[in-house]
């Protein structure tokens, strides 16, 4: 008699393989046991297709529902879910599409998927640690000598996506409610995008009322924010930004991105406590001494 674990492993193997042959340990009632296993396979497949089309509506629109479903099925085989929360599933779909033969003629598809995943994550992100005024106040208290080693932190919903293609335009013309000119000038890239959840539009709008702001930013700003997201210090991120854009203006960048809430904390090492504003301010106390 197989153990419970063996039963589960064999059952899981059959479902993953899409087998419609009833495993030996499943009771045969009439002739339909294999078909009954197939019910699980179909249900599971449909669940993933539905979840992924909610996350990737523009990708689905671009390739068509049939191709999209086939791509999702292949993705599920290549990247099985490891989480009991289906909302977290699908993060690697963009990279998967990049190597997916059926998507060869759509080189921008990966970037559309990466943008849609960033939007999805922005919807689900935690609230910012500090309001802009508090960040500015904290910054004003940092001793000048401590500034180079200072770490900034991006607010939780902030995402950066870089594309060699006019990604924002491609995404816009593939929105369900878009009824304007469908032409895309594919030479109009690159697009460097900053994605954020709008904190001011949320509360009166209901669950689907979240406004996600997608903004094109220039190369220096994109490089600088990317360096901050990687946990580099103010000096290191400045160096990276200036390498990209020799006229990068740090003062202006701080004003813009603290002012609009993109940077919501400063301190010793935001990576050590990436979601805790209080800790990073504590870190700041140490910097003052």
């Amino acid at each position: 008699m197989p153990s419970l674990r063996e039963i589960q492993q064999r059952f899981a193997g059959d479902i993953a393989a899409g087998s419609t042959i009833a495993p030996t340990f499943v009771r045969t009632s009439g002739t339909s046991t294999g078909e009954r296993m197939a019910v699980y396979c179909r249900t599971i497949r449909a669940n993933y297709r539905n979840a992924m089309s909610a996350t990737y509506p523009a990708v689905r629109r671009i390739v068509g529902t049939l191709s999209f479903n086939a791509a999702v099925d292949a993705y599920v085989d290549a990247h099985p879910s490891r989480c009991g929360d289906l909302n977290e599933y699908g993060d690697a779909f963009g990279d998967f599409l990049h190597g997916y033969a059926e998507a060869d003629e759509l080189p921008y598809l990966r970037d559309v998927a990466r943008l849609e995943w960033a939007i999805d994550e922005a919807h689900r992100a935690a609230e910012p640690a500090l309001a802009p005024e508090a960040v500015l106040t904290a910054l004003s208290h940092v001793a000048a000598g401590a500034l180079p080693e200072l770490h900034l932190g991006l607010e939780p919903s902030c995402r950066l996506v870089a594309s060699a293609f006019p990604l924002l335009r491609i995404w816009q013309v593939n929105q369900a409610d878009y009824d304007g000119d469908l032409r895309v000038d594919f030479t109009a890239g690159p697009h460097l995008l900053r994605i954020r959840r709008d904190r001011n539009a949320g509360s009166s709008e209901g669950a689907d009322g979240a406004r996600i702001m997608i903004e094109r930013i220039d190369a220096g700003h994109h490089e600088w924010l990317s360096a901050i997201a990687q946990g580099l210090t103010l000096a290191q991120s400045l160096e990276r930004a200036v390498d990209t854009d020799p006229v990068f203006d740090l003062q202006a960048a701080l004003q813009k991105f603290i002012g609009d809430g993109s940077i919501d904390r400063i301190g010793h090492d935001p990576r050590a406590s990436p979601r805790s504003g209080a800790d990073s301010v504590t870190g700041l106390e140490a910097l003052r001494d």
Binding site: L4, V26, A207
Partner: protein, 279 residues
């Protein structure tokens, strides 16, 4: 201060994303709502904001679909932590999960898979329910699931398995009458026998939903009205055990809110008869 902390023995609705705006704007006279816990695991954002506002006006039940209590894998601490965080945030009247497994060996199928009814499966799921109740610091309710296959190794009936889980762990029962009916057809037993074996005092909530018939079996789709046969079983159950919080679930091809309200009204009428008998 939330005045409505317990689930009333009245008809509630499963709240799904397409109806959230309507509920917030019009505050319909629904006795209580239930949501899928995982849909609110996010650290923040408008969905969670909306849930908190709904919670301020309605009793709430949190219904999980991904804890995988019956798996031989360890319980996911991350999943439990997120559930605990959500519980602290919305203070639900009830927290429930399923008597099933969702994956093994680290792989998740994000579906409710059937268990063999054996001593080993019983010991395994009871240990996980104990662990979950300990981690969350509260009782949970567990729901019987629909199954499309049965296992050769089963040594007891499903109703014995379910009743024994409740006895061993002290957990509550979320009795899904539709799932009892679906299984009675799929596995050829008397639904009345199953229902008669349920521990009456432990039944904290009842679920009603629609199934679809395929060539092979009945499928618990949550995509149709509650079937007449299930209403009949529900009436019998309420007449026997008295009124209990009863939920209408509808998860695919979600209809207009008014359709759900009409289903809830049918349940409310059955509950009113139950209240009359109880009085």
């Amino acid at each position: 201060m939330r005045s409505n902390d317990a689930l009333p023995a009245a008809a509630g609705l499963g709240l799904r994303a397409p109806h959230v705006k309507h509920v917030l704007a019009s505050r319909p006279p629904v006795a209580w709502f239930e949501v899928h816990s995982e849909n609110y695991f996010a650290g923040g954002g408008p969905a969670l904001d909306a849930l908190e506002r709904i919670r301020s006006s309605y009793p709430l039940s949190l219904h999980g679909v991904g804890l995988s209590l019956g798996s031989t894998d360890p319980l996911s601490r991350m999943h439990l932590d997120k559930l605990a965080r959500l519980i602290a945030r919305v203070e639900p009247a009830l927290v429930s999960e399923h008597l099933c497994w969702c994956g093994v060996g680290g792989r998740h199928f994000n579906d409710l898979l059937p268990l063999p009814f054996t001593a080993a499966a019983l010991a395994n799921i009871c240990a996980h329910i104990d662990e979950a109740q300990h981690c969350l610091g509260r009782e949970i309710a567990v729901e019987n699931v629909s199954a499309y296959v049965a296992f050769d190794d089963s040594t007891m009936c499903e109703w014995e398995f379910v009743a024994e889980i409740v006895r061993r762990t002290g957990c509550k029962l979320l009795l899904d009458v539709n799932n009892v009916y679906v299984n009675s057809v799929n596995h050829d037993f008397e639904a009345d026998r199953y229902l008669a074996a349920m521990p009456v005092d432990a039944i904290a909530e009842i679920h009603l939903a629609g199934f679809e018939a395929s060539d092979a079996c009945l499928i618990d789709t949550h995509g149709a009205p509650v079937a007449p046969e299930v209403w009949a079983l529900y009436r019998k159950t309420i007449a026997r055990i008295g009124p209990r919080p009863t939920l209408i679930e509808w998860d695919v091809d979600i209809p207009d809110f008014a359709v759900l309200e009409a289903e809830a009204e049918t349940a409310a009428a059955v509950l009113a008869d139950g209240h009359a008998v109880a009085a």
